[in-house]
């Protein structure tokens, strides 16, 4: 297991079976590729998309 994945799982404190840990290890390279894919140079100065209004409209 990579140090990063081990640290993340330790922090999460999830009860997991050995099969589940093994599955995450197997898929970790794909998840790492996602984390690379979301770091777009074009997003360097972009605002995040999830901006909610300070005051929600109310009924009536």
């Amino acid at each position: 297991m990579t140090d990063t994945l081990e640290a993340l799982l330790a922090r999460a404190k999830l009860p997991m079976t050995p099969e589940e840990v093994e599955r995450l290890q197997r898929n970790w390279p794909i998840i790492e590729s996602w984390l690379a894919d979301i770091r777009l140079p074009e997003a360097r100065y972009a605002e995040p998309a999830a901006i909610y209004p300070a005051q929600r409209p109310r009924a009536g």
Binding site: L9, L35, L40
Partner: protein, 469 residues
Amino acid sequence: MSAELPLTIDEAGASLRRRQLSSVDLTRQLVSRIHASQDTIAAFITITEEGALAAAERADAELAGGTDRGPLHGIPLAVKDIIATMDAPTTANSHVLDPAWGQRGDATVVRKLREAGAVLLGKLGLSEFALGYPDPDKGFRIPKNPWDLARSPGGSSSGTAAAIAGGLILGGLGTDTGGSIRGPAAYCGISGLKPTFGRVSKEGCVPLGYSLDNIGPMARTARDCALLLQVLAGFDPADPSSAAVPVPDMLSRLDGSLAAVRIGVPREYFFDNLTSEIEHAVRKAVDDCAAAGAIVREVSIPHAANARAAQRVIMFGEAFAYHEADLKTRPELYGKWTRAQLQQGALFSAADYVQAQRARSVIADEVTRALQDVDVLVTATDWNVAPTFESYSPEARMRQPDFTSMWNLTGHPAMSVCCGFSEAGLPIGVQIIGRVFDEPMVFKAGDAYQRLTSWHTRTPRAPREVQVT
């Protein structure tokens, strides 16, 4: 499937108004089909027969007395079992959800359907919490694809798609966080729309990814989806992400014409990794539209290939936040695939989530620019036809292309309609994407295409029983 009952909401409505059929007769026959198919198609978790017949009687009496609530009056529909209804528990196909959750009353969308005179036949099967994969160990029925019972109807709105394709209901509700309406629609040969984010209230729906979730219509035709969305759409102060925008006439552009409709075909990503059968069917659909007068051009979405990563980080992060306490205290109650999916959400940091939301801004802008000079975009809905249950797993899915989740990320409306069949006789879906809050144009393109073709009129043969292991 038996051919004597109407296949569409539109046809059924006309028969009801001509008194050729009563809502009670239609409801009785469909309930009978549902019971008979529970060991084969297995689309329903709960059948609300008594309430449905009472609603059908009311609908008939009202029509006889001159009260007509509109196109859904007396029409049998059903709801994915992740949406609250007052007459049945809501399970989310899980032993984790508190049974009391579903007893609190109708979700906003369900209330709207009832007010429009619809007859609700029950709660439809789904992937656990709209995320898991079939798990026979958990005791819920597993919906099967009426075109081939050894194959999945897709997920997560599996029951809704299977029930419509199997002739058990005329339409229904699905939910869609990454393709859960459009994927099953494609695999089952029906139509299904993910509306613009905020168009339809999510109040009363168990969340998966708060900023990606949508409730939307599924039916045999684009026109029926438009009839349903007309009723479902509208601002709801009970849903924090509901949009306070006017609801247009969803049928206003259904003129059957593709003349001068501008279709954009993305240059990047969407045609790179799909089977030759799917590519051929989708390109043929585009050619058919062009022959009918549509103007086709290539468009660019430079970061299309990055969209899936951003959607996954956001979806798993939001889902993990919702499920974290239960994953720690009673993980054994989840299906094994649901647990495996949700565990991925523990691997992302707060900074990862924000980076994904910043990538989301960039990609949404690219899509808006791509749609500046065209009316709709067209892609395949899925890279392949419905998989067998044996080959259907989240791990396989992680390694396959994904053409639907991008539009959850950007919020644009997207609909799948049937555009052909594989050599093995399995449906193929084409996806039509529109500008934000321009569902009428998406319906126009889908409806006009369906008037040109007959793929959507095909029905599967009566199914044989199979066992999913």
